[in-house]
Point group: C2
Chain length 683, copies 2
């Protein structure tokens, strides 16, 4: 392939770097750029400050020249073109050869990386590289003569489309998980390898039980064999790590570290190992950009009982001045120093806290080998991060006003545009993104938009592509689930809009979903109540008609962090975490008719104490929800006869609030549209 870009002038680059006072030479810039290419494209030119700050324009231009040059060669190995160049059977064969070389009879390839996160950087997408399967959950197991891919119900069709069934049996992840399949597939004496960085100890224990049932054994590898046969495997992403100001966090990192350190001490632990970048970002009040849509700085950390922290991170990611922001009590070490640090902790003889649900087995193994005493307990940042403080709540309210204005402007635009015909899913979601980008503090979308017209709306995890997208046709519904990252808050909203005239059935279903949404929005519950206890409120109106939806009712949301944040959830699955004041959770019941339409009505809500005096009888400490999301709900889809008086009153009051709060932020045409869209329905 002939290069089209200019070969960068190394000599001139070296000169520019020296003049700008950069610590890097051209080779260093090349290495940095490799990490930049591995980061999401939203990184833009923000990486320049990692080279020199300020960045003179000539240097900036030279840096982008380097990047463009390297980009031409950049292959993450995951694209269709890459699979043409190195087809699936060859990848499997290469891996099998490597396994044989290493004396392994098999190997497990999970979807996860070492952080067990929702998004995995390119270089960690080993399952996708090996099998072609790109779903957000799954695994593969490769033996000498058999191989299988494991997916749950959400991805059966996707796996059938992406995975070569001649190479991999396709199995159901829940009904026949790898441990179970292995128990039947291996023979006595088989040695199955796994990468201890990519599995939690709970998973390893299950896999162990599985193979041992057949007289085989599990072996931890030191270097992942997939990495050894993946040509040009992308480098670790290097997106800038910035301070997240107290004006958004409402709580200094020093205070957080001190509080959590003291809590560790009370629990009898001298330190905690943090493996989740969300936790590290929250604790140190920093944000990164190493994965799509979530401002995470991939890293590890050790928090000690005196509040000091060692942060294991690639220094090149840190913007100038971040050291100072982190302060004296935070030491910065390269990632490969985590092992020796764990050895030192272990040898101190003190108890070290690690989370068996999320931390890599490697951490437990390392501590154990060095004689450490491990205290298995949840990541100490999890709960404090979930309970937003006053500043975070004020911030998310502000972000939601901005986001509501963007969504409302989009809905007004959609009302004008859609009837003309010709509007497709991607153009629509692009327009919404454009409106959002105009908002102050906007940084990124919080997840890939779900823009489903007509029958595409019935596919719960639909992503519009040029091949699949439909036009927004009259007489159909359009489901749009989207959200944004603002510096002051993370949003997530779903609106379902009638294009043209909806059928009576659509109105009936929409109104039942709305009743479920209102039941959650107006719920009052005693402190101690979990999301599991509330879930059925959202389903009741559907259940009365023998209908239901096959997803949870609500997930937690972070503050300029993950749009899917634990530990709380509202779903059928048993969840022991009580809903506490400050927690933000989504309220998103739905209804899906395959091949026809999808309905979902989602707002974010914040858990609040019941206002004193609101209910004179309060014998119990009661909590309720404050609805954060502000955007009109499609009146055309509401069947008023199905609503109780109180439900109708809620809808009108909500719309009044939307008009009063969002109206002033809009251009005149959108404001006029909003007045109609929020006109009272009430009797």
């Amino acid at each position: 392939m002939t290069r089209t870009g200019t070969v960068p002038d190394q000599g001139r680059l070296a000169q520019l770097l020296k003049e700008a006072g950069s610590p890097l030479d051209p080779a260093g810039v090349g290495q940095l750029a490799a990490g930049v290419l591995a980061a999401p494209p939203e990184i833009g030119t923000s990486w320049h400050r990692l080279v020199a700050e300020p960045t003179p324009p000539a240097l900036a231009a030279a840096l982008e020249e380097v990047r463009a040059y390297l980009a031409e060669d950049y292959r993450d190995g995951l694209s269709a073109e890459d699979f043409a160049r190195l087809p699936r059977p060859a990848r499997l064969a290469l891996l099998r050869e490597e396994l044989a070389r290493q004396g392994l009879d098999g190997f497990i390839v999970p979807r996860a990386d070492e952080h067990q996160g929702e998004y995995v950087p390119a270089g960690g997408q080993r399952l996708a590289w090996l099998t072609g399967f790109t779903g957000s959950a799954g695994a593969a197991v490769v033996l000498a003569d058999r191989a299988a891919v494991f997916v749950d119900g959400r991805y059966t069709l996707q796996a059938a489309a992406q995975v070569d069934a001649a190479l991999f049996e396709i199995r159901h992840l829940i009904e026949e998980p790898p441990a179970k399949w292995l128990a039947g597939a291996v023979k006595k004496g088989t040695v199955v390898g796994y990468d201890p960085w990519l599995h939690t100890p709970q998973e390893v224990e299950r896999l162990q039980a599985g193979v041992e049932r057949a007289g085989a054994s599990l072996k931890a590898v030191e270097a992942n064999p997939v990495d050894r046969v993946w040509p040009g495997r992308p480098a670790a992403p290097l997106a800038p790590v910035l301070p997240h100001p107290d004006e958004f966090t409402g709580d200094s990192a020093a205070d957080k570290r001190g509080r959590l350190g003291r809590a560790l001490a009370e629990d009898g632990a001298a330190a905690a190992v943090l493996t989740m970048p969300e936790s590290i970002a929250w604790l140190l009040n920093i944000r990164g950009g190493d994965v799509p849509h979530t401002p995470l700085p991939l890293s590890f950390a050790i928090l000690r009982d005196d509040g000091s922290v060692t942060l294991f991170i690639d220094r090149r990611k840190l913007v100038p001045g971040l050291d100072r922001h982190l302060g004296n009590e935070v030491a910065i070490e390269p990632p490969d120093r985590l092992g020796p640090a764990l050895d030192a902790l272990a040898q101190s003889g003190k108890r070290v806290q690690v989370d068996p649900a999320t931390a890599a087995s490697w951490v437990f193994d390392r501590l154990g080998r060095a004689g450490g005493r491990i205290h298995r307990a949840a990541d100490p940042c999890l709960l404090p991060k979930a309970c937003k403080n006053r500043v975070e709540l004020d911030g998310t309210r502000a972000a939601h006003r901005r986001d509501g204005a963007a969504v409302t402007r989009f809905l007004a635009w959609l009302a004008r545009e859609a009837p003309q015909g010709g509007l497709c899913e991607i153009a629509a979601s692009d327009r919404l993104e454009a409106f959002r980008r105009e908002g102050e503090h906007f940084r990124d979308l919080s997840f890939p938009t779900i823009s489903g017209a007509g029958s595409n709306g019935a596919i719960v995890h639909y992503r519009a592509t040029p091949e699949t997208e439909k036009r927004l046709e009259p007489g159909t519904l359009y489901l749009l689930d989207s959200g944004a990252q603002y510096l002051d808050g993370t949003t997530d909203i779903t609106r379902t809009v009638a294009i043209g005239l909806p059928t009576p059935e659509m109105r009936d279903r929409f109104t039942r979903v709305l009743k479920g949404h209102i039941a959650i929005a107006t719920a009052r519950f005693p402190k101690g109540t979990t999301g599991t206890q509330l879930d059925a409120f959202a389903r009741r109106a559907l259940w009365q008609e023998g209908l239901d939806y096959d997803h949870g009712t609500g997930h937690g949301v972070g503050s300029y962090l993950s749009v899917h944040e634990g530990p709380q959830r509202i779903s059928k699955a048993p969840n022991m975490q009580p809903l506490l004041p400050g927690m933000i959770v989504s309220n998103e019941p739905g209804y899906y008719k395959t091949g026809a339409y999808g309905i979902r009505i989602e707002n974010l809500v914040a858990v609040q104490p019941e206002r004193a005096g609101a209910s004179a009888q309060n014998e119990r400490e009661m909590l309720c929800f404050e609805t954060l999301t502000l955007a009109p709900i499609d009146r055309a889809l509401v069947e008023c006869d199905l609503l109780e008086d109180a439900e109708l009153a809620w809808l009108d009051a909500y719309h009044t609030r939307v008009l009063e709060t969002i109206g002033p932020l809009l251009d005149r045409d959108s404001a006029t549209w909003l007045e109609q869209a929020t006109a009272p329905l009430g009797r």
Copy 2:
């Protein structure tokens, strides 16, 4: 103490026994009578058939003479008089001496017996004997220099009243369980004994972890030291074991044994050890009477994969002909043959299924020592027993009609009697029991009646005693929770009745409880839904006012078996058991105002598939509840303005059904009263 009864004439007794063809001699009769005295008094004269059948009148009289004579000496060691004769400090001292003799530094005394049942026969009430505490859950731990009693929130006041705080520290069973207390109370090298018959393996593992944290150890004893110092400890109860006819069970024991045996085989087990008398009674279609209010034959059994069973039971309990009813595939062995039978099972090398949640640790130890392979799984009878078949459902409907008639007659009587003043709790519950006794197939109450007038109604586990009972005063509420055992079904019902004029607050609270009750009664839910998911429906109307109740919403119910039966429950606590067709469960929300009044509205409901065509949209397999209980709900307490139209309609329809079904079964006065009590409230 001078005897008042006649000394039975042994010679005459021997003659009568011989003439009647009894296998027993006078000494045998004496031993049998000791077991009869240890059984609940409801046994009446039914035990005579265990001596000879038919029982000639002269022999019957002689048997009762023997019984009366032995009764004078019968001391279960648990009465106030017994505690006067052998006071608490002496009992504790005796036990400590015995422990020292056995080389033990401590001993654990749980409330449970070897069957982990809700009711414990007198001889198994070691906790009560030692400490005086008679609550239905708890434990004690005795060390050389300290001792503690552990109770949960229900029993704090009761423990304070019954237990000598100078002898026993009182601790909270959940917050500081024995394992945790022991971890802090014992020293390195302490040996704490426990009786492996009285703890599940899960409990033993927790206790072990607790003592080992302090460097101490747990030791299983062969003979319980409490038994060795308990003078005159009652014998095992010997109540007659009868066949339970197929006309009530709807399923022959042979079929049940065959089905469950095949299921064991499919699970790869050769046998299952059954330790719960409910399971054994259900499986073999037999009933006993060894404990109060539940017709259980205390016993153990082994079920094999070919459907054959060995029943380990005291033969003397079996009525003549029971052998024949059990059939050739059921072998009868004395209880002390269980050990050798387990040894044989273990040595067969096949897998033996035992339930770690309910079986005694002793069983696991015995199988383990003999090299057995144990498969830990739930008792195989649990789920089939919970899902009643058509005959059992028809039977419980018939029992509920009978029970409804008795309750209605009582309510009619109460309406006449209470206004006259002077009516107290015990007289009222006695009157209700008298009405029930007139019903066909009545055998016993299903639990001790809760009869709470005024503020006594606010005590959730209240039992009326001559010292505590109140009069039913005008302007108060009367809460009555009662139930019966009929051969064709078990009932459990709570009605709350206004005596005189209720306050507006009482009506408000009652109506909110009623709304919760109706929400459960009218629930439709997809197959797979658990009770945990439905629980909040019963609380919502209370939560809207900041109110709640501190107990579960519903428990499972057996068929002429336990009134509290698993595995399903409706409560806040996570319960993984989906509600399945045929399950019977209570629907009993409530509200309690301490010092003022209590409200509870309880009906039993049966899970049914949604009638086909009931809801044309049924995309899911839906279930619903059929209300079994038929008795009027007090109209005087219903605040109609608080009810939705659909709720009012439900109440009127329910009352119509009560009138139509129960009316024809009543005397004229009661029927007239019922017409008024069920008059429509509807708008």
